[in-house]
Structures are given as C-alpha cells and as structure tokens.
C-alpha cells in the first residue's frame, strides 16, 4: 500500500505526535474558530474525500460508488506545527467538538524538533510533576498540652523581614550611638517572583500591580512583586506604588537607564533591589526575550531596538568574581538609593550556593539571598537547560539555613526560596514546608500565572510557548490582538483571591502547630516525610 505522502526522516503521523486532536464530525459546525485561535497553527481546514459504496441484495441491483467531499479539521503533523495541547480550540468551540488528547505512548516528535540544527526552546516549566515539597507533612500537631489555635478567629502574625538584620547587641549599640542600621522591610512571606515587563503582557503586568496595590492598601497585606529583568514603566517608577515593587537588575541591565533617570523624581523608595545572578529554570544562562516579543513599548522601556532577540549574558559582564559581585554591586546599588533600600542577590540553586551565602554573610550591605530551585519557571529557555540543569530547592535552602545556624547568622540574612512552589496546586503547604526548613519567605511565579491569569501550562508538557509571543491566554504575549483577551482588572481580582486563599491556608497550617505570634521559620521539628533518605538529608523526622 503506498503512503499518501512522501516519507522523509521527519515525516510524522498523528500517532507520532505528543498531542493529538480528537475532532467530532457530528458536532462540528465548521465555524473555524478553533483554526483561527490555535497559537501554533496545528490545525487547519481539512477537505476530505469519502467514497460511499452502494450495494443491494435485490435481483438486478447494480452496485455503484458515490464520491463525496466533506470538510472538517485536519491536524498538521510537521514538527514545527505540532499541537501544544493548550486546549484553546476546545475553549472556543461552541459545540465542544474538538479537544487535544495525549498520546498513549512516547511520542516521536521530540526527536525532530531540532529542524535546521536549532535546539528546541520553550517557556514554562520543567514538566516534572514529582514534588518533594508535596511529600512533606506537618506532624507536630498541638494536642491538649498546648492547644491548637483557631485559624479563623485568632490573630496571626505571618509577616517576614527582607533586609539585613544586625545582631541584637550591635543593633542596640547603633541605636544608642545613632549610627546607621541597614534598611529592613516587613513584608508578606509570599513574594511574586521576577517576571519582566516584556516576558509578561501589559495587561498581565498591570493586573498584578493593581492586585498588589489592592492587597497592600485595602487589605493591609504587605505583598511585594519583583519586576524581573526588564525595567519598569516610567509612571510606575515615579508613583507611590513603587514601594510595593522589588526592582530587579540582571546581567542585561535592561531598563536600568530608565530607572536611574527616574531616581531623582521618585516619590518613594522601591521595596528592594534584587540582583539576579541566576534563575532556577536555566541556571548559568542569562535571561532571554525573543525578538517577536520586543515591541515598540518594550523596546522603549528597555532602551533597545525593536524586533531583536534580547539574550542577557550568563553573568554580569562588569564583574569577574563573586567578591566583586557581592561587594561592589550590592554596595553601589545601595548607594544609589542612599542606603535606604535593601539590596540582595538572587541565584540559581546549585552546589555552590553556600559559597555565595558565605560571601554575603561577610558583607553588611547584603540584605538577603533568594535561591531559585530547578522547578522555577521562565519565559524562554533551551529545553536542555530547563530539563536537566539545576538543583532542587529543598535541600539547598536547608543547607543554607543550617550553614547560617552554624555561624549564628540565621536571623541576619533572610533566605527566600523559589522554584516549583505550588507546582501541583499546593502553594501554602509547599511554602510553609520551605519556611519551616529555613526560608524567611518564598517567591512564586508560575502559580501566579495559573491562578491569576488562567495560564494553561501544567507539569505535563502542555502549552509552554511563553517564548514565542503566542500565549493563548494573552499572559506572555505582546500582540495586542492576543493580549486583549486578558482583562487586567480580572487579573487583579484573581490575584487578591489567590492571596486570601494562601493566607487562610497558611493560618490553617500554623494554627494546629500552635504558632501565631511569628512566622515559624526553621521550625523543622514540625516537619516529617516518609522517605527515609530525604528525612536524613533534610534533618527532619522520618515517619511511615
């Protein structure tokens, strides 16, 4: 039997694809919405020829063929047009006639997505639904001797500190002598991690900013949001809302021209400055904003030409050593705001995290350390970086905290953990586990996109096209035809919902532990896990 098309090494059938389109001829109205909404053009109008054989049993009946054509949906099989499973076709279909389904076996497209010698890139996540944080249980439940608290009625203090906290004796001495003490911010322990204006669409960014402002000013929750690498809109820089923002500077320095020019006109200081040395999703690699997202607005804010790829270098080109990075950059950033703003680095979790931390402990201007684990998300990265590079966050944060215990600086340098928190939806439980392992707070990005904006990404290779500007929900697109799908007001509303849920769930975790007066940082006696090796490694209780 001859094939109906040429067979080349990269000729794939639908069977070979990871995502397969299931289309129902009976339900389809041929409205064409699915084909127009598909962000990767994986489906198109299909013209099908059908043969109808007419046979009869009666004497003298002459059998005949009847050829017809009909129209429907055809899935394209070229690797470049492979379905991403985002499900937008189903979302727009008036009759629920189409849906993407997962292949029942290993796909073959993975071997062919390097056409032209280009390694595959994507946005999103590692696509591994396993989560050690989900396995951690809270076992020290207060019973009788110390009553459990009422999470709904009791007063709770859950805020944490961002900033260098001096040892008490030294701080008292400084107070008496009216000397300088490092700036410290009291903030909510769940920080919106760095997602840049550029990686995110204007309504997404605006929605997050509005939500953060509402949380602060209406609900009294000091939530902070990090800008990521890409600067900040000029009006926001000059508004009072900048105090809710953590400005990030990374190796590309995008947007910093604008920020520096705004300093004299700033009404308020920003919450903090985050110096990004690495991120968990692609450790040792710089940020990347692909050309199709560099629009007029983005190029203006970042101070770059339009329509060019913006790959940040893997490291800060102005520095050649950690000592320099820590000492010089932190100090110069502190100086820019008159030593009134905490400055802290963010690094990828790695086996060298301790070296960075030890350097920071010796610098009194270092306001903390954010560590991003391998499950962190990103707007664009090479598959190989995202899938194989990096270090899990749990043991990394634990090692760093234990190191601070050893040198007696556990309250001086707050550690912020990120990377895969809430990857399976358990945001509060994962955050609480990391806090009890020693983090002063956590950073989250992907969960915010999923909860506040309806990102369809999952840990199962769904969508992940944040990099090409075709985000089906308009979250990471710079195309107005796409991002108008996203209503900034609704994003703000959902962000507030998300934070209120987190707040309640965090209290529902703290209350049974008998904790309410302070965030239970380092309360490792409350934790347990049924994996013996993990328990040994994290120095927590082993239970079965």
């Amino acid at each position: 039997m001859a094939a109906n098309r040429e067979i080349t090494p990269s000729t794939l059938s639908v069977k070979d694809l990871y995502w397969q389109i299931d289309w129902s001829k009976e339900k389809c109205t041929l409205c064409g919405r699915c084909t127009s909404v598909c962000p990767v053009n994986a489906i198109e109008l299909g013209v099908f020829r059908k043969r109808d054989i007419k046979v009869g049993l009666s004497k003298g009946f002459v059998p005949s063929n009847n050829y017809e054509t009909f129209y429907g949906i055809r899935q394209r099989t070229a690797p470049a047009y492979a379905c991403i499973g985002c499900g937008m076709c189903n979302m727009v279909c008036p009759n629920n006639a189409i849906i993407s389904m997962r292949n029942d076996e290993g796909d073959k497209q993975r071997f062919h997505i390097d056409q032209g010698g280009q390694p595959p890139r994507r946005g999103g996540r590692r696509n591994d639904s396993g989560s050690l944080l989900d396995q951690i249980k809270f076992v020290r439940i207060s019973m009788l001797t110390d009553p459990a608290l009422d999470a709904g009625r009791h007063e709770f203090q859950v805020n944490t500190l961002l900033g260098r906290v001096l040892p008490p004796e030294e701080n008292m001495k400084m107070l008496r002598e009216e000397g300088w003490t490092p700036p410290v911010r009291e903030i909510y322990p769940l920080v919106i991690g760095g997602m840049s204006f550029g990686a995110l669409s204007p309504p997404m960014w605006e929605g997050l900013q509005m939500g953060v402002a509402y949380l602060n000013e209406q609900l009294g929750m000091p939530v902070r949001m990090c800008t990521g690498e890409g600067g900040c809109p000029p009006r926001l820089l000059r508004s009072r809302f900048i105090k809710y923002v953590i400005l990030q500077i990374a190796s590309g320095y995008f947007g910093w021209d604008e920020i520096i020019h705004a300093i004299p006109e700033m009404k308020e200081d920003p919450c903090a400055i985050e110096i990004k040395y690495g991120q968990g999703a692609k450790p040792g690699d710089g940020g990347l904003l692909m050309w199709n997202k560099v629009t007029k607005l983005i190029s203006a804010i970042r101070g770059v030409p339009r329509g060019v790829n913006l790959p940040s270098p893997p490291t800060h080109q102005t520095q050649y050593s950690i000592e320099e990075s820590v000492a010089k950059m932190i100090q110069s950033m502190s100086m820019a705001w008159g030593f009134r703003v905490p400055v802290y680095p963010k690094i990828s979790a790695s086996s060298t995290s301790l070296a960075v931390l030890n350097n920071l402990t010796r610098n009194r201007y270092a306001a903390g350390l954010a560590i991003d684990g391998e499950d962190g998300g990103t707007g664009a990265a090479y598959n190989v970086s995202m899938d194989h590079m990096g270090h899990p966050i749990a043991s990394n944060i634990r090692d760093c905290y234990n190191n601070l215990l050893t040198i007696g600086k556990e309250n001086e340098i707050p550690l912020f953990a990120g990377g895969g928190i809430g990857k399976n939806g358990n945001l509060a439980a994962n955050a609480a586990a990391l806090i009890m392992l020693g983090a002063s707070g956590v950073q989250t990005g992907k969960y915010v996109m999923q909860a506040a904006a309806g990102c369809v990404g999952s840990e199962t290779q769904r969508c992940n096209i944040c990099n090409i500007g075709q985000c089906p929900k308009g979250i990471t697109s710079q195309d107005p035809r796409i991002f108008r799908r996203l209503d900034a007001e609704k994003v703000a509303e959902r962000l507030v919902d998300m934070y209120l849920r987190f707040d309640t769930e965090l209290k529902k975790i703290m209350a049974p532990l008998g904790r309410s007066t302070s965030l239970p940082i380092g309360m490792s006696d409350a934790l347990a896990i049924s994996d013996f090796n993990a328990a040994e490694r994290l120095k927590i209780r082993y239970v079965v």
Binding site: L166, P168, N171, I407, G408
Partner: protein, 376 residues
C-alpha cells in the same frame, strides 16, 4: 500541665510551704517531679551571703570527684546541709547517695575579680561538673551561685519534700520557686525539671513552647556556654532573660517586648517604637509562641510573672506587704497567704509584666504599651 508556685517574703519561709501549695493544686501535676529554687536564704546560710553554694545530686564516687576538683581549684567548704534519708525512698523516687547543698569559700586567687568575672567562672565550673557527670550520671549539678540553693527530684512534690525532710530549720529562704511537674514531651531527666538557673537568673514555666526549636538554635550561637542543655523547651526562657540583661543591657520591662513583641498600630503608636521595632526585628528568633506562663527571679531578688501573647495559661499574683506569692491557681495563694485582700489578686494578661520588688511592698504591673524606663 505543670503547676507553679513562688513566694517572696520579708521573713524566711520553709520550702515545705511551697510544696504544700503545689499539693493543693495536685490535680494539675502528675507527681513526676519537683523542682525547688531557694534564694535570699535564711538560717545558717545568712552568714555566708557572698559564698557560692553548690546544689546537686551526687553518688559517692561523684562526690569524691567533686571534692578533688574543688580542692584543685582552691575552693574550701564553709557550710553544708546534710540530708539523712530513710532507707527506702518513696515510690517513683530513685535512691540517691548524696543530695548536696554546700557553701564554698572562694579561692584566694579570685580576690579582686569583678562580679561579672566571678559569675562567668562559677558558671564554667558548674558546666564542667555537669559535663563530668554526663557519662556515668554520678554528678548532677543544678546551681553554683552565692545565696542560691536548688533541689530537684523525681516523684510527688510533697512526698519528696517529706522524704528529704525539707521542713528542717536550717533550710529556709525569702524567695522560693517551686514547680510540680507534669511530664509531657521529654523523658524524665532532672535537668529538664524547672526552675532553671543561669548566672543569677531563674525562671520556671508551665505550658509548651511551640517555637522551641528556632529559639534554641538561635541561642546556641550567641556565644554563651551557659546557653546549653535544652532538655526542656522551657529552659530558653531563663537564657533569653539573661541575654536581654547581659547582652542588650535592658531591664525586665523589655522582656515581654522580646518574647511577645507588639504588633500593628499599637507598636506604631508606642513612644519607644524605634527601639521596639528594632528589638522585634533583631530578636525575631526569640519570639515565643506559648502557651506559657513564666515566673522568674532576677539577681536583685525582684520577681516577675509574664504570659505569652495568647494568654492560654493560668497565673495569678497576690499577697500583702511583706509577702507576695505567684501561683498557677488561686487555691495555691489561699494555701500560703490566706489573709490577703483577695480583691487585689491580679492575673496578668497578654500585655502585662507583674513585678514584685525586693522590698515586697506592692504588686507592680507593667504594660507593654507604656513607655520604657530610661536605659542605664
């Protein structure tokens, strides 16, 4: 839940009085242990006010080791209390060789040392003896300090008191702290028995310290060898108190600001808000989460009671000029000071620190919302 009783009186009292008060509250403790802290001693110890007193439990072999050590360090015995015990201890109480309360004369080489330096050396000797006794359990030392005696034992408080014949005249004190133990989390270890003592400070607690682990981890790295042990989650209270006085130079009025700092608008509107905010941030790891009632004694013989932020533990102070008592329950007060004005009994709440000065004339209540006194 453990039961606490403490009394501060112008005239020396027998420790049995405190044990009787505990017995009135016996529904609240299981007779698993008792701890006594005696300060501002009466009787024969009046004559040895400055002499450091060693309190502990020793085996015959342990005592020989102690004698050799103290001789080596140049300490001479000045006075001791001899316990002549019945052959059979009460049920649940182990048989011990020697209960030691012994006053020493300082070595000549210590002449001219500052009180601070003497205190450190006394602490180090106590820790050295404690370490020596860890291997065989033949030396248990509770305190080594002038004008302080301590007794701790496993068993029912009143029964143990009678067994040790604590009603004798030579044992009396103007300050007595006693705890009847309700064994919960930890194995019965005498070092886990309250009250806890460190360089002149003593505290005892009932309740559970849910923030124990982070607090312990923080104290361990504060550079004071006395911040150790941690057999009980309540031991940290005396260490926090010591740290606040010695390292931060703050008085008892600031204690609550460290263990249960103010929040929100109350803090924003406080006259000392800058100091308090700084304290709250820098001492964040010392914030307790209760539920705890803490009774303590300071080096100047002041006594105090505080509650955690949630105030989930009972605690009452009452009395009359010349004698005041702190108790878990009012019936404890009734047992010791029945003729007091009961309308003046005071139960401290989440912002209060109750202080009885050494003159024992009144109950002073310090609220966290008040301006702190001028710092020395």
């Amino acid at each position: 839940m453990c039961r606490l009783f403490a009394v501060t009186s112008k005239t020396p009292l027998s420790p049995m009085l405190a044990l009787e008060a505990l017995d009135v509250m016996r529904e609240g403790h299981d007779g698993s242990g008792v701890g006594l802290f005696l300060k501002d001693l009466g009787g024969p110890f009046e004559d040895f006010k400055g002499a450091p007193i060693m309190s502990g439990i020793f085996s015959e072999g342990g005592l020989k080791k102690l004698d050799a050590l103290m001789m080596d360090k140049g300490f001479m015995t000045k006075h001791k209390v001899t316990f002549k015990l019945d052959k059979n201890p009460p049920e649940g109480t182990p048989k011990r060789d020697i209960y030691l309360i012994r006053a020493y004369e300082y070595p000549e080489s210590w002449d001219g040392l500052s009180d601070e330096e003497r205190g450190k050396r006394l602490r180090d000797i106590r820790l050295e003896i404690r370490k020596m006794g860890e291997e065989k359990g033949d030396m248990i030392v509770f305190s080594f300090w002038p004008d302080v005696a301590m007794i701790k034992e496993i068993g029912d408080p009143l029964t143990v008191g009678r067994y040790l014949k604590l009603a004798r005249e030579e044992l009396s004190a103007r300050i007595i702290m006693a705890q009847g133990r309700q064994n919960t989390n930890y194995a019965i270890n005498l070092y886990a028995c309250h009250p806890f003592f460190l360089e002149g400070f003593a505290t005892m607690t009932n309740g559970e310290n849910t923030a124990f682990v982070p607090i312990m981890e923080y104290l361990k790295t504060r550079g004071n060898p006395g911040y150790m042990g941690f057999q009980s989650d309540s031991e940290v209270f005396v260490q926090i108190l010591h740290y606040m006085y010695k390292k931060l130079g703050l008085g008892i009025e600031a204690y609550k600001h460290i263990i249960t700092p103010l929040e929100g608008d109350v803090l924003e509107n406080h006259p000392d808000k800058t100091l308090l905010k700084n304290l709250k941030q820098t001492c964040r790891r010392l914030i307790i989460d209760g539920p705890n009632c803490v009774i303590g004694c300071l080096p100047n013989n002041s006594m105090f009671m505080v509650q955690d932020r949630k105030k989930l533990r009972p605690g009452v102070v009452g009395g009359k000029p010349g004698i005041y008592a702190f108790s878990s329950e009012i019936c404890g007060l009734d047992a010791v000071v029945p003729d007091r004005d009961k309308t003046k009994d005071f139960q401290p709440m989440h912002l209060d620190t109750v202080i009885i000065d050494p003159d024992r004339q009144e109950v002073k209540v310090w609220r966290q919302t008040e301006k702190l006194p001028l710092q020395p």
